[in-house]
Amino acid sequence: MDFGNILLGAVNEFFTPTTAAYALAALGLAVHFGYTGLLNFGQAGFMAIGAYGFAIPTLSFNAPLPVALLIAMLASVAFAVILGLPTLRLRADYLAIVTIAAAEIVRYIVTTNGLTEVTGSANGLAAFEGGFYSLNPFAPGVYNLGPFSLNERDLWIRVVAWTVVALACVVIWLLVRSPWGRVVKGIREDENAVRSLGKNVYAYKMQALIIGGMLGSLAGIIFTLPRGAVQPANYGTELTFFLYTALLLGGMSTVLGPVIGAMIFWAVLSLTQGLLYGAIESGAITFLNTTQAGQLRYILVGVALMLLMIFRPQGVLGNKKELSFA
């Protein structure tokens, strides 16, 4: 077993575009759940809306990148409004039920055979990333960053993805420390009290739902670009729960927590995979094959989450004091 390589592989996961996408989507969940108290279980749906909202215009009518991006964001806002209108007046748990259902509805719609020409059905869509890579300022070649060597496409998507994450973090940080953030946190604690102080709780909840949803949709785009394909199977309910894992790992009422959480999530997955595969190949583990090992690592992530909840419930960055009154 080459521990050096396994470790390098884990470190590499810190900076992949997929990790960036998870960080961004989890940041959206932090706005929803960590700050506003909206239990959104449909973040995968927002990601799918972003990915399809970007891919469909590009492929169907050759929309240039900014237009496709705009359409994706508008679709995301529309999705948030449709979800929010009937549910935000109700108790928080209803939103959870509706969002989980809505995300599944999105996934089933894009899988429908009748829409194959538009959505590609179960095969999804591909070859829509040309516009993005044509903007690549990096000359073709191999770039060596420490122990990692990337081609110009890898480098470009990483630079863009993490720039977006950094910008989103700054914006959210500015928002949550503003009076707007105070109202939203107040809603998380007790929305009737906030209402009794003359704040339009419904509007604030809607704004938070839209902002977090847009971050989710941006994440969906970043998630699909390096793959060059969008497939409905990627946007199942488990994606939402992975995002919640990342959020809880990092600390749910923090700005950098979701980012750190996503990094840890992927590093741990990579590490356990490397170790398990290495052990199987070297014959140390004989009772598992590599497919089973691939599934086992998700079990290990679950165990890690449980341990974290027991011994550090506030997450890596969270404030312990906030939880002592939970």
Partner: protein, 357 residues
């Protein structure tokens, strides 16, 4: 609140002034730093009659701030609230009393937009409030607190206070990102909050999480936070519930101060002592209806109120053995009470409580 507890303030217990004729005299027995400033205050010294004519359930007021007519709310066939007409006098402290389930809190909810009545109309300062949502009602200057105290536990005391302030431009999403646009107002708000916190003796808790406060301190914080809205009418739902006797006096002073500052107060309370002590006007509800109204001294003598709510022996202080002896003496004369009969538990209980008092 247990009246058996040793109160640190003699003269604060109901019995100490139960024998006194007018409730106003109770004030004199409590030395208060506010007395002098109140003596010159136009709101405190205004003793023009509150009612436009004679005090009766649903009577007109000389200067009402809130008027409700035919307000009904039913829950599955039960009339929770069925108020024909009620007016709340401006710049006065009005108490809303009544037995459990009389519809006091429901009326609060209806008036403040937290619940919608099946019928009726209600106006605040001549503005029709039918269909106006709760947050708009609050913005009009009609702010309420809750029976089960609502503080934002995971915000600091100061943030709780700041949340109450209005006209903070930074609360709008489009301006929130730009600190210079709301920094000035934030400083003003913080100043106002600090002043109120000092008044309510919460200034040392300023940066603690509100969840770390005691029940009584939360009541204070909730009231102080409501004042951040600069309300015209403050509606307090059981401000005394769960507040320790040492805090009650300061809470009473705070409420009287609201009146001195020109606010109108409407409160729900079960503590009759508090009602006598600070209320200018008392409205009694029972089974969703207003059954009596008037100045506290008169309402408490009203036979209907005594029967419905106070109980026949409400003026006996059970806080000391003297009170129990008095109660025994009264009960002996009471035809309904069977103090000699062997079946009654009353004498046993009285004896027991006499020992513990």
């Amino acid at each position: 609140m247990s009246h058996q507890a040793q109160s640190p303030q003699p003269g604060r217990r109901p019995g100490a002034h139960a024998a006194e004729p007018a409730p106003e005299t109770a004030v004199e027995s409590v030395p208060s730093s506010h007395e002098e400033s109140w003596a010159a205050n136009k709101y405190m010294t205004d003793d023009r009659p509150i009612a436009a004519d004679t005090a009766a359930p649903g009577c007109r007021k000389r200067d009402p701030i809130l008027i409700a007519s035919n307000v009904t709310r039913t829950y599955g066939g039960i009339n929770a609230v069925d108020v024909e007409h009620v007016e709340i006098p401006r710049n006065k402290i009005t108490a809303l009393i009544g037995p459990n389930g009389a519809g006091k809190t429901t009326l609060f909810n209806l008036l403040t937009g937290f619940d919608t009545p099946q019928s009726g109309e209600w106006r605040f300062e001549d503005r029709d409030l039918a269909g106006v949502s709760a947050y708009k009602v609050a913005r009009l200057g009609m702010v309420r607190t809750f029976q089960l105290t609502k503080v934002m536990g995971k915000l600091t005391v100061l943030e709780n206070m700041r949340l109450g302030a209005n006209e903070q431009p930074g609360e709008a999403l489009r301006r929130a990102l730009f600190r210079p646009l709301w920094k000035k107002r934030e400083n003003e708000i913080t100043e106002q909050a600090d002043a109120l916190l000092a008044k309510f003796k919460l200034d040392t808790k300023r940066s603690d999480y509100a969840a770390s406060l005691s029940g009584g301190q939360r009541k204070l914080l909730e009231m102080a936070r409501a004042l951040m809205v600069n309300p015209k009418l403050v509606m307090l739902d059981e401000p005394m519930a769960g507040v320790n006797p040492a805090l009650t006096q300061s809470l009473l002073d705070h409420i009287k101060n609201l009146k001195a500052e020109g606010m109108t107060v409407l409160f729900v309370e079960h503590d009759m002592h508090m009602v006598r002590h600070i209320a200018d006007w008392v409205i009694v509800m029972a089974e969703g209806k207003v059954v009596a109204e008037g100045p506290p001294g008169e309402v408490m003598k009203d036979q209907a109120v005594i029967d419905a709510y106070l109980g026949a022996h409400h003026d006996v202080d059970l806080g000391d053995s003297e009170g129990f002896e008095k109660l025994e003496a009264v009960l002996e004369k009471d035809p309904e009470s069977d103090i000699q009969g062997g079946e009654s538990l009353a004498p046993v209980i009285i004896e027991e409580r006499k020992d513990t008092a």
